[in-house]
């Protein structure tokens, strides 16, 4: 059943995955483990209860840095933010040092070219840390580099390793290896020293749990992997559980729940369209997105509790009378809930939680109820107000 796969890239942790029993599959142009010997269900539950270690080195970390910073931290940040803001709907100018923000790269009609994280360097004025998706990274980097022109330089960091450690015990584990990590607030990042090398650690993730994402040099990737797995609270987790965890957390997956036709408004990501940007209407596709904010919305992303067999991507969604009203964009089995869940798009008239819809799975109708997302509550770290 193993087919020879050409032109697949590997991450610096390929040998570790194989040694750990990883079942390697092609994903985003890389050879990555869909699961290890524990299996998707066990890996999923382990992450919700303890700490799961993910290799996400296929993603696109990068740094955008002003070529001629003035040395005035706020002016330099404003200058680099001004290069990125015309591409995205988020407030980049308003980022505090070290703050990470989720935003979307938009086309002229307000469709999502990608979703990404943009962060302001806690140390270097005029520098942003930007992480984009694997499948879209070459195009994203072209767009960002072009917008930066001769004012700033985009440096790709996807030749290193990016690890995610996620789960209620993740930060406690990481703090034993890299002291001080526990001080990070949710959606902030900082550089750390580890065995004489630099790590970039963000308190963020894609599971709905507390945790961190760790960027390190390829040369120390295996040592970092081993150091984390030496803690009995940590198990390696494959792409299968990464997908089921993010689905339960109600988080969209680019290429499935988001594409170049889907606006942030349709995707239920209004929080990512900053108030200041809406007031100045200065982002790509603002005309459409502002209309959608005003209520002229033809479809919106919803969560569905599906009775019976999982409704997979592409499954038709019908109203109670049997009329097709939309499609599932991500669907599967939720290990934490032991039932089928899905994300899909329907007109706003069918989007109120509690609305009874149907899905057509292999030609048979199954009840599906609209529900608020996340399906499983987020458990992000919130600092106590001092």
């Amino acid at each position: 059943m193993s087919e020879p796969v050409e032109d697949l890239k590997t991450t610096p942790l390929y040998a570790k995955h194989v040694a750990a029993g990883g079942r390697m599959v092609p994903f985003g142009g890389y050879n990555l483990p869909v699961q290890y010997n524990t299996g998707i269900m066990g890996e999923h539950k382990w992450t919700r209860e303890h700490a799961g270690l993910f290799d996400v080195s296929h993603m696109g970390p990068s740094f955008l840095t002003l070529n001629n910073p003035s040395g005035d931290a706020d002016a330099d940040h404003a200058a680099v933010a001004a290069l990125v803001e015309p591409l995205v709907c988020g407030d980049i100018n308003g980022l505090k040092p070290g703050q990470v923000r989720y935003t979307l790269l938009l086309n002229e009609t307000g469709g999502a070219i990608d979703d990404l994280m943009v962060a302001r360097s806690p140390l270097f004025p005029g520098s942003l840390y930007i992480v984009v998706n694997a499948g879209t990274k070459d195009n994203d980097f072209d767009i960002i580099a072009k917008a930066a022109g001769d004012k700033a330089k985009l440096t790709r960091a996807d030749d290193g390793a990016l690890l995610a450690l996620q789960g209620p015990e993740a930060v406690a584990v990481l703090d034993t290896i890299v002291p001080g990590v526990a001080e990070l607030g949710f959606m902030t990042y900082a550089p750390f020293e580890w065995n004489g090398t630099k790590l970039i650690i963000a308190r963020s993730g894609y599971t709905g749990e507390d945790g961190c994402e760790i960027l390190c040099d390829a040369s120390v990737a295996e040592a970092m992997w081993d150091a984390l797995l030496a803690d009995e609270r940590v198990k390696p987790i494959g792409l299968g559980a990464r997908d089921s965890l993010r689905l339960e957390a109600g988080l969209p997956l680019y290429g499935h729940d988001l594409d170049e036709t889907v606006s942030p408004t349709e995707a239920g990501l209004n929080f990512a369209v900053s108030k200041r940007r809406r007031e100045s209407a200065d982002f790509p596709g603002a005309a459409r997105i502002l209309k959608e904010f005003g209520g002229e919305l033809s479809r919106i992303r919803v969560g569905l509790f599906v009775e019976g067999a999982p409704a997979r991507e592409g499954t038709e969604i019908l109203d109670a009378s049997g009329m097709v009203v939309g499609k599932v964009t991500s669907g599967g089995f939720a290990p934490s809930l032991a039932r089928a869940i899905a994300l899909g798009f329907v007109p706003p008239a069918h989007a109120t939680p509690g609305t009874q819809l149907q899905v057509s799975v292999r030609g048979r109708m199954q009840p599906a109820q609209v529900t608020a997302t996340p399906f499983v509550p987020h458990r992000y770290f919130r600092k106590a107000k001092s």
């Binding site: 998707i40 997908d243 067999a309 999982p310 599967g332």
Partner: protein, 121 residues
């Protein structure tokens, strides 16, 4: 009692004129955790190669085909509540359905245990 196999990793255990159909340990391992099984209806008439059932893992749905022609006589309803039986005990408690074999000659076209073991090496 003979057990025969398809290249699609179904087994059929022949007991007289009845065959007990399930998926092999190799197949359950490849699919991973089974979370849902769609069983055929009792009385359903199947031709060899027809889709008889569907097993779903966390990630994907896989069709289970009829290894021979015949009529479904019984289904393993325990799988509705406990689909994971296919993972833990694929050859016994994780059987999927029983079929009355219409044409015993079709069994000759299937793989025996040695040939199947060879296929999954």
């Amino acid at each position: 009692m003979t057990t025969k196999f398809t290249p699609d990793h179904e087994y059929i255990r022949v007991e007289g004129a009845t065959g007990i159909v399930g998926i092999t340990p190799y197949a359950q391992n490849a699919l991973g955790d089974i979370v849902f099984v769609e069983l055929p209806s009792v009385g359903k008439v199947l031709k060899k190669g027809d889709e008889a059932a569907v097993v779903e893992s966390v990630k994907a749905a896989s069709e289970i085909y009829a290894p021979v022609s015949g009529t479904v006589t019984e289904v393993n309803s325990a799988l509705s509540g406990e689909p994971g039986l296919i993972n833990t005990d694929p050859e016994a408690a994780g059987w999927i359905y029983k079929i009355s074999i219409a044409n015993a000659g079709e069994l000759d076209g299937l793989l025996d245990a040695v040939a199947y073991a060879d296929l999954t090496k």
